[in-house]
């Protein structure tokens, strides 16, 4: 009976409140508190959660984690050597007449004009250089293939030093952990989660961008490779040829160092301990009872509602190491050719 009375009273209060709101609206009084309640505490947080975080989460289950799913294949990929054949043919078409002319001139010089032993020795050395260059240029596509094979074999062997699944788990932990963190922050205010949300995209895109950059640079250097060989054997232009060949070798072997960086992260992850490894979860973000919590349902349904500092930290280090490796390699290995 008491309960019934209470319910009646509550209904009456609700009716009166609604009537008051309707009257106020009819009088032209704008109820900003209602707006704030809906906007800041219910509607917008829900929109941020369900219209921003959840679709990004869905994207991560699909294309967003493409790098995580295929990292070993992506790192092992090298541009096809057939791509340089048309360029190589053009270069050879230009070079063969020049070479023939040079070899004939040196032959005539040796046979008819040369008198001093020093001059004859110089001419002979130039002749041998020309022949070596000619052979190397003709074989350049094979040479490139050989270098790519060595680099690919090395990379594959480095990957075998640890479990690929562990590396995948770390990369996955980093990107999902960052999304969980950004969801946490963006629910009350979108700007609060801006840095973490940006990092989600950085982790999803930047390794691909760096690897694509490697492939573009490598394709360009592959085209320049025969020219690099030629210039390397001409004393006056040696520095240009040296730079081309060095850069080609560095950018080729970057894949091995990327693999080594990921292997190191996996090894460090399995042996490093933290005194306290706090967790952050998508559960119980909402302060409004009743709505709590559709996001939690989404994240727990894909078994990724929680992250911890170790997983997040090493996941970020794994992604950043892919980005850092080319910089370190180019700085460390420059000017190694004689």
């Amino acid at each position: 009976m008491r309960k019934k009375k209470f319910m009646n009273l509550m209904t009456l209060a609700l009716v009166i409140t609604l009537l008051m709101i309707v009257t106020a609206e009819a009088k032209g009084i704008k109820l900003e508190s209602l707006e704030i309640l809906l906007e800041s505490l219910i509607i917008k947080p829900l929109i941020r959660g369900l219209v921003i975080a959840a679709p990004i989460g869905y994207w991560l289950t699909q294309d967003g984690t493409s790098f995580v799913k295929n990292f070993n294949r992506v790192i092992l990929y090298n541009p096809p050597t057939e791509g340089i054949l048309p360029f190589l043919n053009i270069l050879l078409k230009i070079l063969f007449p020049v070479y023939s002319l040079l070899i004939v001139s040196i032959g005539f010089y040796l046979l008819l004009y040369s008198s001093s032993p020093e001059g004859r020795a110089n001419a002979k050395s130039l002749l041998s250089k020309l022949i070596i260059t000619l052979v190397l240029i003709s074989l350049s596509s094979r040479l490139i293939w050989l270098i790519f094979s060595i680099s690919g074999y090395l990379t594959d062997s480095i990957f075998s030093l640890t479990s690929l699944e562990l590396i995948r788990e770390i990369l996955n932990g980093g990107i999902w952990g960052m999304l969980i963190l950004s969801t946490w922050l963006m629910i009350p205010d979108i700007e609060l989660g801006a840095v973490s949300l940006m990092l989600v995209y950085v982790f999803a895109w930047l390794p691909y961008m760096v690897i694509s950059l490697r492939n573009i640079i490598l394709t360009a250097l592959m085209i320049l490779f025969p020219l690099g060989i030629l210039l390397y054997f001409i004393p006056e232009l040696k520095s240009i040829g040296k730079t081309i060949l060095e850069q080609f070798l560095i950018w080729t072997f970057i894949q091995a160092f990327m693999a080594l960086a990921l292997v190191s992260v996996a090894k460090a992850f399995s042996v490093t301990t933290l005194v306290s490894n706090p967790e952050i979860t998508c559960l119980n973000i909402f302060p409004v009872p009743g709505i709590n919590n559709m996001l939690a349902w989404f994240f727990t349904s894909i078994d990724l509602g929680t992250t911890n500092l170790m997983t997040l930290g090493f996941g970020a280090v794994a992604h950043f190491s892919i980005i850092l490796v080319p910089i370190v390699m180019v700085l460390l290995f420059k000017k190694f050719l004689p």
């Binding site: 009166i16 009537l19 008051m20 709101i21 009257t23 106020a24 009088k27 009084i29 109820l31 900003e32 508190s33 707006e35 704030i36 309640l37 800041s40 505490l41 090395l154 062997s157 480095i158 030093l161 963190l181 946490w184 922050l185 629910i187 009350p188 205010d189 700007e191 609060l192 801006a194 840095v195 973490s196 080594l260 960086a261 190191s264 992260v265 090894k267 460090a268 399995s270 042996v271 490093t272 301990t273 933290l274 005194v275 306290s276 706090p278 952050i280 302060p287 500092l309 930290g313 090493f314 970020a316 280090v317 950043f320 190491s321 460390l332 290995f333 000017k335 190694f336 050719l337 004689p338």
Partner: protein
Amino acid sequence: MDKKSRIFTLLVVILLLSTLVNAGGALLGIIDVAIKEGLKLVAKGWIVSTGWQVIDFYEKIFDSFPLLLTTNPPMSEITSGMFFFIKIIAPFYILAIVILALYILMASSSMRGRAKAKSMLTNLIIGLVLISLSPGVLKVFFIISENLANALISMGANAGISALKGASSGLYWKFSKLTLIHRTGGIELFAIHTTLLFGLTIMLLLRHVMVILFGMLLPLAFFLYLFYPTKHIGKGLFMQTFLWTFMPIAWILALVIIGTVIGSIPSYIPEFYILIAALFFFIGSPMMILGVGDWLAFLVFLFEVLQAAPLSIGAVVIDETMK
């Protein structure tokens, strides 16, 4: 109660309610403002409390500082990688020794050439010994680094860690106060704060990764160091192994310095600014103490960050106040 009086009572109730509703509608404007401000405060409180949860999450790294700075990865994890590179180097090594020996025996005619080849052979043999000993060399590095770190950390590094925690909580309180003034007033400060804490976490974990990476490459470093054209690469790799192994010494030294300085600051200087400077000093300390990179450029960058944040926060607050 008969039917007439019931209808009469109902009419009176409706009349009273309509009067109440009418008056209430007018009153609602005043109540609305109060409720609106209250709800705004709740929304701001939600931002502040969420910010706190995340900052607290990141701040837990401070508890792991002593452990992360005084330990190195176990050798067992590195040696497998080292042996992998030794296996790659070994054929080249044998080839180099055989070619040199053949050169000395057969091809060399001049005394100078023979002497040069002999010196190269000596270098190769020394290199061979060094490569075989590279796990031992790294172990020695680790022992020295760990012993030094343990000795230094007991000299008052805890005071330094407390100062860094103080800087972090100071930043959080500034963020919460700015957020209470205006909803988005503390956003930039929060972004800087979380970036700093996350950056610290990454740096500490990255050191362990780099020690493993360059530790595995140590045999290659010795090998490359022996040949003149690749000498600088070998030297670079060796220096990187050395720097990443001894980086905690620079960090602990920075913590000890911070701890000492904090205790001697005059009371008229607000502590918050000293603590923030300490936090930046800690991040930049390996670059300054070990000479990694251009630390002056790093300081310029820090200044940019420091001056940009208050300016933009000030702009937001002033802009909102003027409205």
